[in-house]
């Protein structure tokens, strides 16, 4: 498989009144044609900012470093004009909230056909025919009638399906889906996950799915990247990362979930809350919340290291390794000092 998207050492700094802070810090990621890559993490982990960077949609004053190549084109240095040709045509995005991503006073037809006519140069009637097909694909009942209606006339689940139809209208090669099903019922969510899976199989659509729902991640993603405070904590094949997590943060996220197969035991939340921009702890950003933190964690920033083919981990302690020797760490004793817990 050839890589469609290659992100290398991407950093994004946002300037605020109090100075400049890194929202995304040294992220590297590849996505191949037909591949689904998941990015997981709590709010403020830099998931959404990574996606917005790829589309050139950063807030004013943001500075980027590193590289992000889409099919050979460098996105970070592209002109606005070049980006307009890619955005919506080659790379499309679905955001979390269909109430704000769809325009409330434009008809569904206008929103579904405008970019098709701009990017594909097709006639109004052709665009209309395609729009009807698209609405049928995302299972909007009576697509012809739906074209003349407004987003407000649909339920949240249906609106999100329309937003997905808008994103898929120009047959993009890469879809950035930012919490696409978080606001939806599980039943509607199941329908959308199946749709994405089908598009990947039929059209080779590549998807970056951003979600804090590890269940969704497990159902869909081939590879999973876990982010914390703008940095990558762990990345690897879905089966390894979710079934045998190695980073204490990944473990924590999984333990905080209700387990359908497990008993009705108490949930084990991660103590404290994620740091806000500008208040990222020194060393490993996760150390104040980590049950395995050692003194070195408060000062040394962990680098990603390979622990298995395609599986990278940013934790030199690696307390979850099953007694197997791991490259790198010098300490062998694991103390459970609480550190400077919040």
């Amino acid at each position: 498989m050839s890589d469609l998207l290659t992100v290398e050492h991407l950093s994004v700094a946002l300037s605020t009144g109090r100075g400049s802070f890194k929202a995304v810090d040294d992220v590297s990621l590849t996505v191949a044609t037909g591949e689904i890559v998941g990015i997981a993490g709590e709010s403020g982990s830099g998931k959404t900012m990574t996606a917005l960077t790829l589309l050139g949609l950063l807030p004013h004053g943001a500075r980027t470093a590193g590289s992000a190549r889409f099919d050979g084109t460098e996105l970070l240095t592209s002109s606005a004009r070049q980006l307009r040709k890619i955005r919506g045509r080659q790379i499309a995005m679905v955001s979390q909230d269909p109430a704000t991503s769809l325009h409330p006073i434009l008809t569904v037809e206008r929103q579904l056909t405008e970019h098709m006519r701009y990017h594909l140069g097709i006639s109004r009637s052709e665009a209309r025919t395609r729009a009807i097909d698209l609405l049928a694909t995302v299972r909007i009942p009576d697509p012809e009638h739906a074209l003349g209606t407004y987003p407000g006339q649909f339920s949240g689940g249906m609106r999100q399906r329309i937003a997905i139809a808008v994103a898929l209208a120009c047959e993009p090669r890469l879809l950035l889906a930012d919490e696409p099903t978080t606001a939806l019922d599980v039943t509607v969510q199941a329908g959308i996950l199946l749709l994405l899976q089908r598009l990947r199989q039929e059209r080779g659509l590549a998807v970056v799915i951003i979600t804090h729902d590890l269940g969704v991640m497990s159902a869909l993603a081939d590879r999973v990247c876990v982010m914390y405070a703008g940095r990558m904590a762990e990345v690897g094949p879905r089966s390894e990362v979710l079934a045998q997590p190695r980073h204490p943060y990944t473990r924590g996220l999984l333990d905080a979930l209700p387990h359908p197969e497990g008993g009705a035991a108490q949930l084990r939340p991660i103590t404290g809350s994620p740091p806000s921009l500008g208040h990222v702890p020194t060393g490993c950003a996760f150390h104040p919340r980590c049950p395995h933190a050692q003194t070195s964690c408060t000062t040394d920033r962990p680098e990603l290291a390979s622990i298995a083919p395609g599986h990278l981990l940013a934790c030199p302690i690696d307390p979850l390794a099953d007694g197997s020797p791991v490259d790198g760490p010098s300490e062998t004793t694991v103390t459970t000092a609480a550190g400077t817990a919040l």
């Binding site: 709590e42 709010s43 299972r139 009942p141 339920s155 949240g156 689940g157 249906m158 019922d185 599980v186 039943t187 509607v188 969510q189 199941a190 329908g191 996950l193 199946l194 899976q197 804090h212 729902d213 590890l214 269940g215 969704v216 991640m217 497990s218 159902a219 869909l220 879905r238 089966s239 390894e240 990362v241 979710l242 079934a243 924590g252 996220l253 999984l254 905080a256 979930l257 209700p258 387990h259 359908p260 197969e261 009705a264 108490q266 949930l267 084990r268 939340p269 991660i270 809350s273 994620p274």
Partner: protein, 320 residues
């Protein structure tokens, strides 16, 4: 023996005569002290309306809600009766349910002062309540915006506890929170029930969360309860096809890459509910008579299920 909360034949309507929508249609339900009752269903099924009607925020069109032996009257122009102070609600969004211009200590202290306590008593109680919900006592001197979503929801819970409630109705209390904050708040609610013996109605669209906390679970579809029973039983061996579909649609975070099972269609418009069993247009096991006969709850395997196919013991009555 009467239950702490007794809902009988409750119907709640929205809108005027012509555009009337029956959001809750003939619900019977009880909640006992020390019990956590989960209320689940897709959006638009009426679970929030039912929750609001239980605490008296929505008037009943038919039927009644009784709390601790007395009637729960809808909030009108007159003051809410003092006996209802023991019945409190926690809302979904802790960003909009807390007044951003008041100190946390004042927000929580209101409950104590309204209950007849002095300002001094209030400030002592505030500290005790903050500690109770796991927040530092200096939180009283701060404003809501200084806290994260999970901490705000704790403040909202502390505020309801100030009234010494016997029953809490929590409407999607953890849906707006991050995964780890979700676990913290749901554990807190569970602990409160175990330690103080209050009753909790926990409303959520997520059956996997409800399963973790609730003793009993009621599954709603389009204004009706389709299945109610002990949580573990409903979860491991659902009888109603809708309950089954809800459980099958939950993706498992086991890394196995199994896609959830889809339930086609949307919740129908409650203004025009389908004839017969309301679930029949989406039901995988529907038979001809399901579109005609409206199923009544029947006791099956220790729970009440409204399904002609799976719970057929009695003949259902014709819908009117």
């Amino acid at each position: 023996m009467t239950s702490l909360v007794q809902v009988s034949g409750l119907c709640v309507d929205y809108g005027r005569r012509s555009g009337r929508v029956r959001a809750v249609d003939g619900i019977d339900l009880t909640v006992e002290p020390g019990e956590i009752l989960g209320l689940v269903g897709e959006s638009g099924c009426g679970k929030s309306t039912l929750g609001r009607a239980i605490v008296g925020l929505e008037p009943a069109a038919e039927g009644s809600v009784r709390f601790a032996g007395g009637p729960v009257a809808a909030l009108g122009r007159r003051k809410r009766s003092g006996s209802l102070r023991k019945l409190q609600m926690v809302f979904q969004d802790p960003y909009s349910s807390l007044n951003p211009r008041r100190l946390v200590g004042d927000l929580i202290g209101d409950g104590v002062v309204l209950g007849g306590g002095s300002k001094k008593a209030a400030s002592d109680r505030v500290r005790e309540l903050l500690d109770r919900v796991g927040l530092p006592t200096d939180a009283a001197e701060k404003y809501p915006h200084e806290f994260s979503g999970g901490q705000r929801q704790r403040i909202a819970i502390a505020r309801t506890l100030a009234a010494d409630p016997q029953c809490l109705v929590a409407d999607e209390p953890i849906s707006a929170l991050d995964a780890s904050a979700q676990a913290q708040v749901s554990n807190l609610l569970g602990d409160l029930v175990r330690q103080t013996g209050l009753a909790l109605v926990f409303i959520s669209h997520d059956l996997s969360v409800v399963r973790q906390i609730a003793h009993r679970v009621a599954v709603m579809y389009l204004g009706r309860i389709v299945e109610v029973g002990a949580t573990e039983q409903v979860w491991t061996a659902p009888v109603h096809p809708y309950t089954e579909a809800l459980i099958a649609a939950i993706p498992r975070a086991d890394g196995a890459g199994v896609l959830p099972v889809d339930l086609p269609g949307d919740v129908p418009d409650p203004a025009r509910p389908p004839s017969g069993c309301r679930f029949h247009p989406r039901c995988p096991i529907a038979q001809d008579r399901c579109s005609v006969v409206d199923p009544r709850p029947v006791r099956v395997d220790g729970r009440d299920v409204a399904c002609l196919v799976r719970a057929p013991e009695q003949a259902g009555s014709l819908s009117g």
